[in-house]
């Protein structure tokens, strides 16, 4: 791990929606080839953080460096170059339901004209095999697949263009524990095989322990604790303790609406 020049360096990131401040001076580093998982309760801004880094949302202030290059608030044309380093697994899969599975997987390749349609289909089938899906799936439509299969296809799409950085947005949400573990294994396997850097967000601790090298806890718009996954149980931080043990009582007060 290269401590001097992290793959992703976020400094003093601020983002608010109207009156509601979501990110309030967030700092985060992700080293090359490292897998960092950001944990935090629902609505603490985990997705907003990802979307800011991806360029889907424009942060109010702060800096985001990818390979030492500033990407916060840059022009859309330059953004395109940076986006090519990214792969993203969306929470709901976000597969294009008008396209068959293989075209979904090969979408990035086709849009960048990296491959002809025939080649793209071959690559897609190979990527599907990597996530444990047979070639018979490739001609189906996303709506014909189960939730777990959709997640796998979405993973195959995220890795199809061999990205340097892969983002995982709650990869195990909505899956049964066994399928969740299968997906976790696939994430570990594919990122390791590709040597990719991974930034994930989740509130599933089992998933976080499995895929993370380091864990960072997001609370009230800041990272309040970050450390190696082995240290998470001895963090000495009440907020982290409460979260990983899933207790309703503690320093974190959930906004419970009637």
């Amino acid at each position: 791990m290269n401590e001097r020049k992290p793959k992703i360096r976020v400094r003093d990131l601020h983002k608010a929606f109207g009156e509601k401040v979501v990110l309030h001076g967030l700092d985060l580093d992700v080293g090359v080839g490292e897998s960092v998982v950001v944990i935090g309760g629902s609505g603490t801004g985990k997705s907003v953080l990802l979307k800011c880094i991806l360029g889907l949302l424009r942060p109010d202030s702060g800096s985001i460096l990818i390979d030492g290059e500033e990407v916060a608030g840059i022009d859309a044309n330059v953004r395109d170059e940076v986006s090519r380093k990214f792969g993203m697994l969306f929470q709901g899969g976000a597969l294009f339901d008008s396209l068959p599975v293989w075209e979904n997987v090969a979408f990035g390749l086709l849009s960048l004209k990296k491959a002809s349609r025939a080649e793209a289909q071959e690559i897609a089938v190979a990527k599907l095999a990597q996530v444990g899906l047979g070639s018979d799936v490739s001609t189906l439509f996303p709506a014909e697949l189960s939730g777990g299969m959709q997640k796998r296809v979405s993973l195959a799409r995220a890795i199809a263009a061999d990205p340097e950085i892969i983002f995982f947005d709650e990869p195990t949400t909505g899956l049964d524990p066994i399928m969740a573990d299968v997906i976790n294994d696939l994430i570990v396997k594919t990122t390791r095989e590709m040597g990719a850097t991974a930034l994930s967000i989740t509130h599933d601790m089992a998933s976080a322990r499995k895929i993370a090298h380091r864990i960072a806890m997001l609370y009230e718009g800041r990272i309040i604790w970050a450390g190696p996954v082995e240290d998470i149980d001895a963090s000495g931080n009440d907020h982290v303790d409460q979260f990983i043990n899933g207790r309703a009582e503690g320093p974190i007060k959930m906004a419970v609406r009637a």
Binding site: K51, L54, G55, L56, G92, F96, F107, S111, L112, K113
Partner: protein, 235 residues
């Protein structure tokens, strides 16, 4: 703002010809039945109503002229536009809105594809290209509807009716109708895409986007119909 960006993406490469083709079939071909039915009945009603009116002045002979002018200038484009707004504008808003709330539009961006170029531009192009064609077909069917009623119900001579239709139809009537149709095609697809693209908050948001797309497209069609008529024919 949205329309400016959208239009600029229509004329800049890369083009998604496959999507344009698919949208053309969707807008043009699958709208034919509903537009055809609308046209034939409005042609028939027009003949029937103007007969009642003109009989008072013993001017029944003018029915063929009235039908062809009204259909080509006005009823063809407006009724086809309104029907397509209901059919296509709603479908587009719902589809793009669902893509928005299920993060598919975000996914496009992460896959190095500009959603405006991939989603919106093909629909705009297809709308502007197909609506005139649809309206042209609607013109023919509408005139035929008027012919049916005049000949079989009101007892006009078939060849006389056709002859006076043919004599009276002027190119500028038809062309002005087709220009209107192209503008309406742009309005319908733009409203469908715009409201879908900016929809928020799940199923309810998509529902609202659909309603807004149809309502705003219909109102814009009617107001632009007046503006264009003013431009073409007022002196």
């Amino acid at each position: 703002m949205f329309s400016g960006t959208a239009v600029s993406h229509c004329v800049r490469p890369p083009f998604y010809l496959r999507s344009v083709g698919r949208q053309m079939v969707e807008i043009g071909y699958y709208s034919l039945p509903v537009v055809g039915l609308t046209a034939i009945f409005s042609g028939m009603v027009l003949a029937l109503q103007s007969y009642t009116g003109f009989a008072r002045f013993s001017a029944e002979g003018a029915i063929a002229n009235v039908v062809v002018v009204a259909i080509t200038r006005e009823l063809g484009p407006v009724l086809a536009g309104l029907m397509v707004a209901g059919r296509i504008g709603a479908a587009m808003a719902a589809e793009i809105g669902t893509m928005r709330v299920t993060e598919q539009i975000d996914a496009l961006t992460t896959l190095s594809t500009n959603p405006m170029k991939y989603m919106v531009a093909p629909r705009l192009i297809a709308g502007v290209a197909m609506l005139p064609l649809l309206v042209f077909v609607a013109d023919i069917i509408g005139v035929f509807g008027g012919y049916l009623v005049s000949v079989y119900k009101l007892g006009f001579n078939a060849s006389n009716y056709l002859q006076s239709t043919w004599d009276f139809v002027k190119p500028e009537d038809v062309i002005s109708g087709l220009v209107k149709a192209a503008v309406f095609g742009f309005i319908i697809t733009l409203m469908g895409c715009y409201h879908g693209y900016n929809s928020r908050g799940g199923a309810q948001g998509v529902g609202a986007a659909t309603t807004n797309a149809v309502v705003s497209a219909s109102i814009l069609i009617l107001s632009f119909d007046y503006i264009l008529t003013e431009l073409f024919f007022a002196r």
